[in-house]
């Protein structure tokens, strides 16, 4: 088998593990599980693993995927069961399968969010948020490597809706996963820039599912 894909979740305390730290953490889990990864050749060999769509620190996900190569073939279920006892709290292996499609085919991400309002009435916010995001364009200023630039995030949002639930506002959205990649944090940042009255005091996000361009879950 050439390439495997591991689908995993990253929730709870594990959301604070950075992308680079996660790569090392998972590599070590493979070593403990005695699942021998294939390493690159050269002066400083490193395992051939790649986590698609790096997740920002603080964001939860139940749909992370990582592709990897093994030194010797091993049944997918065997890899899964060996790995599942080796992960730190909050990382859970959901599935291991043979990679058939290219990660490039991931197009959309389904994301949920919780918007918290401390002093303001959250119940009144959902409607205003829906109204704000009904616009055709939401142009924000963004710091890039070349300085400060303007960017319209609205085209990268396929669907978005807000509703009031349990004293917070809940967001559900489908956003562009690649080309362009939209960091869901920008959905709250845009409000801080353009509509501070309805910007949340705190917002957190969770990736729910990855889709291809036909809105079929990517597997």
């Amino acid at each position: 088998m050439d390439k495997y894909i591991m689908r995993f979740s990253k929730t709870g305390r594990a959301v604070y593990i950075s992308h680079l730290d996660l790569m090392r953490t998972i590599t070590r889990a493979f070593l403990r599980a005695e699942c021998r990864l294939k390493y690159s050749e050269g002066f400083n060999p490193h395992p051939n693993i790649s986590i698609a769509l790096p997740l920002s620190v603080g964001c939860e996900s139940v749909c992370e995927i990582m592709d990897f190569k093994m030194l010797e073939d091993m049944p997918c279920d065997e890899i899964k069961s060996r790995l599942s006892t080796q992960m730190p709290e909050g990382i859970e292996v959901l599935e291991v399968y043979e990679a058939e499609r290219k990660v490039k085919e991931i197009k959309w991400l389904c994301v949920s969010g919780v918007f918290e309002y401390d002093e303001r009435d959250a119940a009144a916010m959902a409607e205003k948020l829906n109204e704000f995001y009904s616009a055709d364009s939401v142009v924000i200023t963004k710091k890039t490597k070349r300085g400060v630039g303007e960017s319209d995030i609205r085209p990268a949002i396929k669907e978005i809706s807000f509703e009031w639930l349990d004293s917070d506002v809940r967001m559900q959205a489908v956003i562009s996963a690649q080309e362009p990649t939209l960091n869901p944090e920008l959905i709250a940042d845009a409000l801080r820039q353009l509509a501070p009255d309805i910007a949340p005091d705190f917002a957190k996000f969770k990736r729910l599912e990855i889709f291809d361009e036909n809105m079929e879950p990517f597997r």
């Binding site: 305390r13 604070y16 950075s18 730290d21 090392r24 889990a29 403990r32 603080g58 730190p88």
Partner: protein
């Protein structure tokens, strides 16, 4: 997770160090344990998680089914600010519970510059910093670690010091505390009972009585408490509990690798060295056990590096066979084996060649002094010939970076000794010119100096530290005499060394200085980011304490030292004899050549010292 924490964490650097949840962490049901212990390391997560002692004791204490020991580290400045602003108290990593809910705060104090952080962590937990202000039995504040071997500077703050190795002693104390908690003993009654446990030093039971010149006349000892507290040791290193499934950090720490402890103690007896004296007698683990433990650790952690730890690895009798055994496991798995604290001799280079097949970057040696005369005076058994021969082998073997560490301000040092450092660096450079395999790659020789700090329980405990001005003069003398462009000279600032010198041999009067520093915002002072010399000077001033009394004063032979209540095994008469040898520039043979009857073997109670 705490809602406030959830908002803070995305704003701070490296938040994973504040969350716990790592692989192999130990969690228990708090309702099913009788004692909750917060194991506090007064420095950052990255430093504390690299500390082998913490890892061992975390595991041994958690072996007790009625105890849950959790980890606590000092937050970096950004996290500290956020916690203060949002009213988040210091919490334990495993449970996330505030440590004010714990029965015991246990501090591991490895170095003096952590003292202010100890106070700060108590305060962040909402616990009064003075022992006298904590009237109830719980929370009990205990401390151990190398810095505790002079407990006096922290005596006002800590209820109980645990002296020496903690594997057995900690659990004996916790067993007593369990009874005391169930039966509701008053704190005083518990302290009296606890003082009967070997290695337990209750500072409130030892009241220093000062002479007019602030030297100590004697200690008033509480009735029933031992006159001297003897440090504890583990007699049988092969039988002691050693954790084979240590916590694997989910973020980068300073030493991210498996640590294997070869032996405790040191056969060398360098006269400036505290560790070489306070960790005696020599007790080694068997190579078979070490190989077995090393492999288990690598398997259970997934680490790709393993380090063999000790004060002087070349003195481990079975080093060669252990390395062969481990290499047999490591090489096919691309696991790196490293071996610090090697002596500069042939045998060591042979081992280095075997273990370091790739990445021949740097080698570090610590000749400590520039002339043979001064190296003899400090009993550093390294000759120039040894060192240059080792460098030759290194250059021939492809290494091209050599670091050389020295101390300035050692007892009996003259300017000639200092010029000897420059000369030695030139000799190393010359050796490279003669023997380097590939000269095109160039060579880099780094000379570093630090200011000598006299330490308690070492032969130089009576000595004065040179003033900062004198240290700087010595630095300039050396700098002006290092001329080769391939030799780089770095020197440590003398301010930290000066403060260290006041703390390491401090008495109980230093408590108010440490408290002043903490009240003025001092914490994490081992970091240059946070160290403030002016804050220390003001703290001394406000406390009416003279720092030069501790740092720059030569003690009389029979002066009562603040740490005289502590018996580390090595006799004071032995230390004084070694000091006299130093002033005659005479070497003492290492323990393997001839036992010096230093006194530490008595701790083995008939067992044999491996010296």
């Amino acid at each position: 997770m705490d809602k406030r924490l959830e908002r803070i964490l995305p704003k701070v650097q490296k938040p994973a160090r504040y969350t716990g949840g790592e692989y192999n962490q130990i969690t228990k049901n708090k309702d099913e344990v009788e004692l909750r212990l917060a194991f506090c390391f007064p420095d950052t997560y990255e430093i504390g998680m690299s500390n082998l002692g913490m890892g061992i004791l975390y595991s041994t204490m958690n072996e007790l089914p009625y105890v849950w020991c959790e980890r606590v580290y000092a937050p970096w400045g950004d996290m500290y600010e956020q916690m203060k602003q949002n009213g988040v108290a210091l919490y334990a990593l495993e449970s996330g519970d505030p440590i004010s809910e714990h029965d015991v705060l246990a501090f591991s104090i490895g170095y003096e510059m952590a003292y202010s952080t100890v106070l700060d962590m108590m305060d962040m937990a909402g616990i009064p910093i003075h022992s006298a202000d904590r009237e109830d039995l719980l929370p009990l504040v205990i401390a151990g670690g190398t810095a505790a071997l002079n407990p006096e500077p922290m005596a006002d703050f800590i209820d109980i010091f645990l002296l020496g190795e903690g594997e057995e002693m900690n659990n004996e104390l916790l067993a007593l505390l369990r009874t005391a908690k169930v039966e509701g003993w008053p704190k005083q009654a518990f302290l009296e009972k606890a003082s009967q446990i070997g290695g337990v030093y209750v500072p409130s039971f030892y009241k220093p009585i000062y002479n007019d010149d602030f030297t100590i006349n004697h200690f008033d000892v509480h009735p029933g408490a031992p006159e001297k507290v003897t440090k504890r040791i583990i007699a049988d290193m092969n039988a002691v509990h050693f954790p084979l499934s240590p916590i694997v950090p989910s973020t980068e720490v300073v030493h991210d690798r498996v640590n294997l402890e070869l032996f405790r103690g040191c056969v060398r007896g360098c006269r400036f060295c505290q560790a070489g004296h306070v960790y005696r007698p020599i007790r080694a683990k068997s190579p078979e056990l070490l190989a077995e433990q090393g492999k288990a650790l690598l398997k259970n952690t997934g680490c790709q590096d393993i380090t063999l730890l000790s004060l002087s690895s070349s003195d481990y009798r079975c080093l060669s066979e252990l390395c062969d055994d481990l290499l047999g496991y490591c090489e096919p798995r691309s696991i790196g084996l490293s071996l610090p604290s090697l002596r500069a001799d042939n045998f060591s280079m042979d081992i280095m060649h075997r273990i370091q097949k790739t990445r021949k970057s740097g080698l570090t040696f610590a000749p400590e002094a520039g002339s043979q005369r001064l190296r003899d005076a400090i009993n550093k058994n390294v000759t120039e010939e040894d060192l240059l021969h080792t460098c030759r082998l290194a250059f021939e073997g492809g290494w091209n970076t050599i670091k050389l560490y020295f101390m300035l301000g050692l007892p009996t040092e003259t300017d000639e000794d200092i010029l000897g450092i420059a000369e030695l660096a030139n000799q190393v450079l010359h050796t490279w010119r003669l023997y380097a395999k590939n000269k095109n790659r160039g060579v880099r020789i780094t000379v570093s100096t630090s200011c000598f700090v006299p330490k308690p329980h070492s032969p130089f405990q009576w000595e004065q530290q040179v003033t900062m001005e004198e240290y700087i003069r010595k630095v300039h003398l050396l700098r002006d005499n290092i001329k080769a462009k391939n030799v780089v000279y770095n020197w440590h600032d003398p301010q930290t060394s000066y403060i260290e010198a006041t703390l390491s041999r401090g008495d109980r009067r230093m408590g108010s200085v440490i408290e002043n520093v903490w009240r003025a915002g001092g914490r994490l002072e081992a970091w240059s980011d946070y160290f403030s010399f002016d804050r220390w000077m003001k703290a001394f001033d406000d406390a009416g304490v003279d720092p030069t009394f501790y740092a720059h004063r030569l003690r009389d032979k029979d002066e009562v030292m603040p740490w005289d209540n502590v018996d580390v095994g090595v006799r004071r008469a032995h230390l004084w004899h070694e000091r006299e040898q130093a002033y005659k520039s005479e070497l003492s043979p290492d323990c393997r050549k001839q036992c010096s009857a230093c006194g530490a073997a008595k701790l083995l109670k008939g067992g044999k010292c491996d010296g």
